[in-house]
Subunit: 471 residues, 2 copies
């Protein structure tokens, strides 16, 4: 049935009179159900290199109750359900290889409450992080998690996103206080709550954070907020060796300096950034720092980190306390994706990430860099090194099967290298469809428990099937 | 069967020739299996007010593999399994109301690895927090979670413990990186890992943290460590009103001052502490602070907090940068339990806790205090107020059924009050057997999901049955 419907879905906006699920959904949603080819194809694709795979129809939901009704109908017709936020995921999380119904949560964009005194808020899943921060502007608060893209907060929760300042503020796992979730049978639950800690029952919140829509659909998110620091200072420092840069990171973290961001760019990445963002950084392994605090404390942090960097051969430790200079530096970091694409015009980017204990980071990056060079692919390295997390962006010509095969081999070797060092196959992009094959190597017997949980909560295997686990 | 064995277990060190499970376990463990009455009774009791309930036998395990064998035998004989660490839990987590086998993990006391560069370590479940910190002394690192008692780290993970400095360093949920767990069918899994973040698959670690032995038995814990701060400063400040103290807490947290501890003692608690610890604090609502950082930063934090306190009517804001003075202050805080017991000689203490959004804390504490006074029970209040978490210690004469009934009513009203304010029925003590009745009121439909997970992982309901959930 799912396959038949999927094939049928490839036709442009057919009336599909023989698809009772589509008819039922249209009865529920009216013109907020679309079977138009362009709409379906847009919703079957993310920012990744993974091929588009369109759902049979796209349902534009407006409320948790509506999501519940849609899911119940899908369950009754035994058809898959895939949630869609802003479409910015990186491992094929929104693709619909088995067809089914995509639920677009972008219209659920209400900020439901902001509790200033308690530093928390509750938003509908479709609110993006930039929208939230714009809304918070006059409160003196902000939400720090910044994966780069203007992702939806529901999507960020579902993929356990993080980004540049996770080293200081944690990841989505640490900052989601509670969720509203629609389960595979349409039940609506609220997990967690507004108190800052709880030992009351199983931690369902963290079970759903990072579950990529395979256990349920997140429709609301309760988030921690933070006071905007009085002062922010940025710094940039280049090193003769990658090891010197990484040792600087290790000692900075060990010393308890609560660095807000600490990003590593290898010399290839610096080259791309210089070209794209009109900077003149030395072509060397480089660290970007940011420090948050009071004026005095942010300054002291920068001084302490500068001393540590100097001890490991860092030169040109330059501060930028002025917002304008900071913005230029961090805009350049944020534009890495575009800088990389500009390195090889016409190429498509494929971003992949791993995370290792920091003590193994230099070794892991150096071996990966050697492998990239020997294999003959283009792939700058950039990393959230305070967490031991780094990214490769492969630049691939469309249709270059050989190049793709080489990149896949480099990626596989990098993942196995990270695992052998006690690391993980993905620090922040998630598993999606493409990292499933590494789960057993990373988690061993624990995968059987993940599978038990999936089967318990989604016995029909309709929630984003084919992602994270092979059932 | 379980009931019959339980009755039999009440006899002193019987040969139990007709209990095939006991025989099989003795074959496995030799004299590391005990059916002695004193041993069983010791293992059927914790620090709580809940009545002792002895298991049928106590198995002293030495390895994860041995725990697995014990659990398999229990499953084969359909008999309950209760894990025991240091016996310091507070909500009846180790009691064995259905009998069965208690697995004492105290002998699993090896510190398996300390990774200084990565600020992490792995320990067997029986290692206590003080033993770990003694072991770490020469590394410049420490493990910050401090629930008061010298609890085992496996037990702290199982109950999602926290304590005074959770406001700065988080709870066990935030500091457990991975676990080794023996499941109900004897499978051994490793969850999480050594990288500082991961988006790889379901977060099983946090599912087991706080599950109180009902989903599996934690045998090893991977923990985050922290560099010992260069400087620590303590301060104490009294207020004319509880509201002034709580408003000081709110603004301190909002201002992003990373206070390491911020503890509230109401005037009754101050009285008890003055008597027991020979202090002369004014009999007013009082805050104890601690600040960690560099010399300059710890000093600046204390100054900032002092200014905030002054703005809310705080007086006598006194610092204690000297370790001796700090120790005296925090020893007094740690001795609150004994100070309370000394208030009413011969009484037993019953500690209970709730947690609310900080903005509701003053209201929740004041209403609770009023209820205590009107009901006519003795119960000082102390709280980890940076988290919105506070504790009552009821002082009850053994055998005073009326006093106990009054205390139970105050507790129930306090929990319902906390829930109505968006809080939780327990911030850090856990659910055990006595807070089960509040789970539905707090979590609603989500309890059905907890139950599904329990049934999926423990279909025979043998893992610490009767705790957290009613199956």
């Amino acid at each position: 049935m799912a396959e038949a419907a999927h094939k049928q879905g490839d036709q442009e906006d057919a009336a599909v009179p023989d698809d009772p699920l589509i008819e039922a959904l249209r009865g529920l949603l009216g013109d907020r159900l679309s079977t138009a080819k362009a709409v379906r194809e847009h919703h079957g694709d993310d920012l990744s290199f993974h091929p588009m795979s369109a759902p049979d129809a796209v349902a534009f939901a407006k409320s948790t109750e509506e999501v519940s009704e849609i899911v119940k109908l899908c369950a009754a017709h035994n058809r898959p359900v895939v949630a869609f936020g802003a479409g910015t995921s990186l491992e094929g999380q929104v693709q619909a290889p088995s067809g089914g119904i995509c639920i677009d949560l972008g219209g659920m964009d209400e900020i439901l409450e902001v509790n200033q005194a308690d530093l928390d808020c509750r938003v509908q899943a479709g609110v993006t992080r930039k929208t939230l921060n714009t809304h918070l502007r006059d409160t003196g608060l902000f939400f720090p998690i910044d994966p780069g893209a203007d992702a939806s907060l529901g999507g960020m929760a579902a993929t356990s996103a993080s980004g540049t300042n996770a080293v200081r503020y944690g990841t989505m796992r640490d900052n989601v206080m509670g969720l509203t979730v629609v389960l595979a049978d349409g039940r609506i639950i609220r997990t967690g709550g507004r108190s800052r800690k709880s030992s009351s029952g199983y931690d369902l919140t963290r079970l759903f954070v990072g579950s990529e829509g395979t256990l349920g659909i997140i429709t609301e998110v309760q988030l921690r907020l933070y006071g905007i620091p009085e002062a922010m200072t940025a710094a940039v420092c280049s090193f003769d060796s990658l090891a010197g840069a990484v040792d600087t990171v290790i000692l900075t973290i060990q010393s308890g300096i609560p660095v807000a961001r600490i990003e590593l760019l290898d010399e290839h990445q610096v080259d791309a950034v210089n070209r794209y963002s009109k900077l003149e950084l030395p072509l060397k392994p480089t660290l970007f720092f940011e420090f948050h605090g009071t004026e005095a404390w942010a300054k002291e942090q920068a001084e302490l980190a500068g001393e540590i960097a100097e001890g490991f051969g860092g030169s040109n430790f330059e501060w930028a306390a002025k917002q304008e200079d900071r913005n230029k530096l961090w805009q350049a970091r944020h534009d890495v994706w575009f800088a990389n694409l500009a390195l090889k015009p016409g190429a498509k980017g494929w971003a992949t990430d791993v995370c290792v204990p920091i003590s193994r980071l230099a070794e892991c990056i150096l071996e990966t860099r050697k492998d990239i060079d020997e294999t003959g692919v283009v792939a700058p390295i950039v990393g959230h090194v305070g967490d031991g997390n780094f990214h490769l962006t492969f630049l691939l010509d469309p249709g270059d099967a050989e190049g793709l095969a080489k990149a896949e081999a480099v990626n596989e070797r990098m993942v196995m290298r990270a695992l052998s060092m006690g690391g993980t196959c993905t620090g922040e992009h998630g598993v999606g469809s493409s990292k499933k094959k590494f789960l057993q190597a990373e988690h061993g017997e624990a995968v059987s428990v993940m599978r038990q949980l999936k089967i318990a909560l989604d016995p029909q295997n309709l929630m984003n099937p084919g992602k994270i686990l092979t059932i």
